[in-house]
């Protein structure tokens, strides 16, 4: 199996060329930089913040049912669009999650399954199916509110930006299985916390049916975190100690 912790000819540190680096450091110490400090960058950023417009908006309900539900929420002082935005985010995240697991499965096929810790294609396919199921659960809840599950909401868009680095790691043929698991763990940890918040938000809106469905999803996501973290720990230990990988503890 490909590992990442082997010694080689990494050239990035200053100790690879101490004389040259010292010459650079001495020269840098004697420069006259532009006046001020990095707070000047913050000033520019703040000036843009002050006139920024949001990345976009939540689409208006496309159905009479949706308009009625939005109006009913408004009467209680709640903005249904916030719930829709967050449901849109979860749906987008799960949709990307299916693709992330597809990339991880390809990586596993190349590295070889690790039966001793249960890291098999079958185990990953099961998680992938969960992500697909969760995607559909949210789509149905969005439909139930009379909204459009094909629309990309602002939080869904931003979730896509967040996931870009994870996708880069998983689709790079040079990254190891453990590096792929680490990337997936980043996604699963956020996913877990986000489902928790979505359950609470749905209950706030009195949408218990959706909240119960979301709670089932959250429990499955919790199990994903446990599995992925266990696999990552086992592979890292195996690599560092040369010892066989052990199965993660049962839930």
């Amino acid at each position: 199996m490909k590992t990442s912790g082997d010694m080689g000819k990494n050239r990035t540190g200053v100790r690879m060329s101490p004389k040259e680096a010292k010459a650079m450091e001495e020269a840098a110490a004697n420069i006259h930089p532009p006046p001020g400090d990095e707070s000047k960058i913050a000033e520019v950023r703040e000036s843009y913040h002050a006139r920024a417009i949001p990345v976009g908006s939540v689409p208006p309900p496309g159905s009479v049912k949706g308009m009625a539900k939005a109006a009913a929420s408004a009467v209680t002082g709640k903005k249904a669009s916030v719930l829709l935005d967050k449901m849109g985010e979860r749906m987008a995240f799960e949709r990307t999650g299916v693709r992330l697991y597809e990339a991880l499965i390809t990586k596993l096929a190349s590295a070889g399954e690790v039966d001793s810790i249960g890291l098999t294609e079958e185990a990953l396919r099961k998680i992938q199916d969960d992500e697909l199921r969760h995607m559909q659960i949210v789509a149905e809840a969005i439909e139930e509110m009379g909204a459009d599950p094909t629309a990309e909401t602002p939080c869904a868009d931003v979730a896509g930006v967040q996931a870009k680095g994870i996708l880069q790691v998983l689709t790079d043929p040079r990254t190891t299985l453990a590096q792929g698991l680490s990337a997936i763990l980043t996604a699963e940890l956020v996913d877990n916390a986000s489902w928790e918040m979505l359950v609470d938000l749905a209950r706030d809106f009195g949408n218990d049916e959706a909240a119960n469905a979301f709670e089932d999803a959250r429990r499955q996501e919790e199990e994903h975190v446990r599995l992925v973290r266990g696999w990552l720990e086992a592979l890292t230990r195996q690599e560092s100690l040369g010892a066989p990988a052990h199965a993660p503890p049962p839930a």
């Binding site: 990035t12 200053v14 010459a23 450091e25 930089p33 520019v44």
Partner: protein, 399 residues
């Protein structure tokens, strides 16, 4: 090691072909490969892009050679892809930007050192100090935006300190035009140098103009807007060095010779065996193009190509650190300004002249390059190291 252009035939054009996996190879390692491997990859991407663009312009102005141009250009397109795709995906656009500026500094320095024409040498030294400053500004951005050390890319070959300040580099377009070489008198190396530096700067302008909008951070968007504008000035400067009276076919011949010269230089110095093989193949392909164009030149221009080309290639480009040379130029020439085609001390630049007026307006609502580097000094491991050490020392002192 000399390359005899009268004898080297390379691979004939009709035998040059690729599959998709040929174009998409394993990229270089950002961590383990030498920084000059990356420098060569970036330079050759620029050279290929210039050839592609030139051949399109040629085709738009010439009905008779369109098929010949299209045949060569298709191969150039694929060579460009093969070479550019050697850059790895774990290198952020900003890290790649640092590498682009390292190309600009080190390649311009070797060209300035070896250029036979004194005026051209002066032009390259002038441009060198501007790109040198860009490296300092982008280094500050990399540290302050991504929390990364630019020396991971530079590998201690190139200094990180101010050059001619970027805010000063903004000039009226008329002050970016330089005098051109005389095609009948100029040394062939002068023509090759002018083309290769133009190619490098043009790709830099295009890269910044393309990636500047991928940043969310307004200061990064501003800095790319500002430096992209200087790179446009550099393209204006360097393209004006070429003799506008060169016939199109003569220019084509020079483009192919420049590609041969650059790939030959890359092959000569490459330490990565896998990438060296790519340079060898690309050199053989370019020799094929050169011979193809030499035949067209004889047929259409009815002249001997060696009226334009040297019979053997000059000394290869020196892909190495030019620290001492750059520091010397910096010390002596940082305060030069351009006035028309000439360079003058900054005191002689008229305060109400076109460049000063243009610059003052562009900078009237702040200078991104000054903002981003305010108080910035490069330190190994980023400037955060000093802050972290101070914080830790303070805490240990308290407890």
């Amino acid at each position: 090691m000399a390359l005899d252009l009268t004898k080297e035939k390379g691979i004939p054009l009709d035998q040059q072909r690729f599959t998709w996996p040929d174009l998409v190879r394993t990229p270089l390692s950002k961590l383990d490969d030498d920084a000059f491997t990356r420098v060569r990859v970036i330079l050759m991407n620029g050279i290929e892009n210039e050839s592609w663009l030139f051949q399109h312009q040629f085709a738009r102005c010439n009905a008779d050679l369109r098929k010949e141009l299209a045949r060569v250009r298709r191969v150039e397109q694929h060579q460009q892809t093969l070479v550019n795709w050697l850059l790895p995906p774990d290198q952020s656009a900003l890290e790649t930007t640092i590498a682009y500026e390292q190309v600009a500094v080190e390649v311009t320095a070797t060209v300035a050192e070896h250029e036979p024409d004194p005026y051209m040498k002066q032009v390259y030294r002038f441009g060198l100090l501007e790109d040198f400053d860009h490296l300092y500004r982008y280094s500050a951005l990399l540290d302050r935006l991504e929390g990364k050390d630019p020396n991971v890319i530079l590998q201690s070959y190139t200094d990180i300190m101010p050059g001619r300040p970027t805010w000063v580099e903004h000039r009226h377009p008329d002050d970016d035009i330089r005098a051109h070489y005389d095609r009948k008198k100029a040394h062939p190396l002068t023509k090759i140098h002018a083309l290769l530096i133009l190619a490098a700067e043009q790709q830099t302008r295009n890269f910044y103009a393309t990636v500047g909008n991928i940043y969310a951070d307004p200061i990064a968007r501003q800095l790319y807007a500002e430096i992209s504008s200087i790179e446009e000035q550099h393209v204006t400067q360097y393209e004006s060095l070429q003799d506008p009276h060169e016939p199109w076919l003569e220019k084509w011949l020079l483009h192919e010779a420049t590609e041969v010269y650059c790939y030959f230089s890359c092959m000569h110095q490459e330490g990565n065996t896998r990438i060296k093989q790519i340079w060898e193949q690309m050199l053989a392909y370019e020799l094929g193009h050169l011979n193809y164009v030499m035949e067209l030149f004889k047929k259409v221009e009815k002249r001997d190509p060696f009226e334009v080309l040297p019979k053997s290639l000059p000394q290869p480009l020196d892909f190495a650190s030019h620290r001492d040379y750059v520091r010397e130029v910096l010390e002596k020439e940082v305060d030069l300004r351009a006035q028309g085609t000439q360079f003058v001390p900054k005191e002689k630049e008229p305060q109400d002249g076109p460049s000063a007026t243009y610059r003052n307006y562009m900078n009237s609502k702040g200078s991104p390059s000054e903002t981003v580097a305010a108080g910035y000094r490069w330190m190994p491991g980023t400037e955060l190291i000093a802050r972290a050490q101070a914080l830790r020392a303070q805490e240990l002192g308290v407890h």
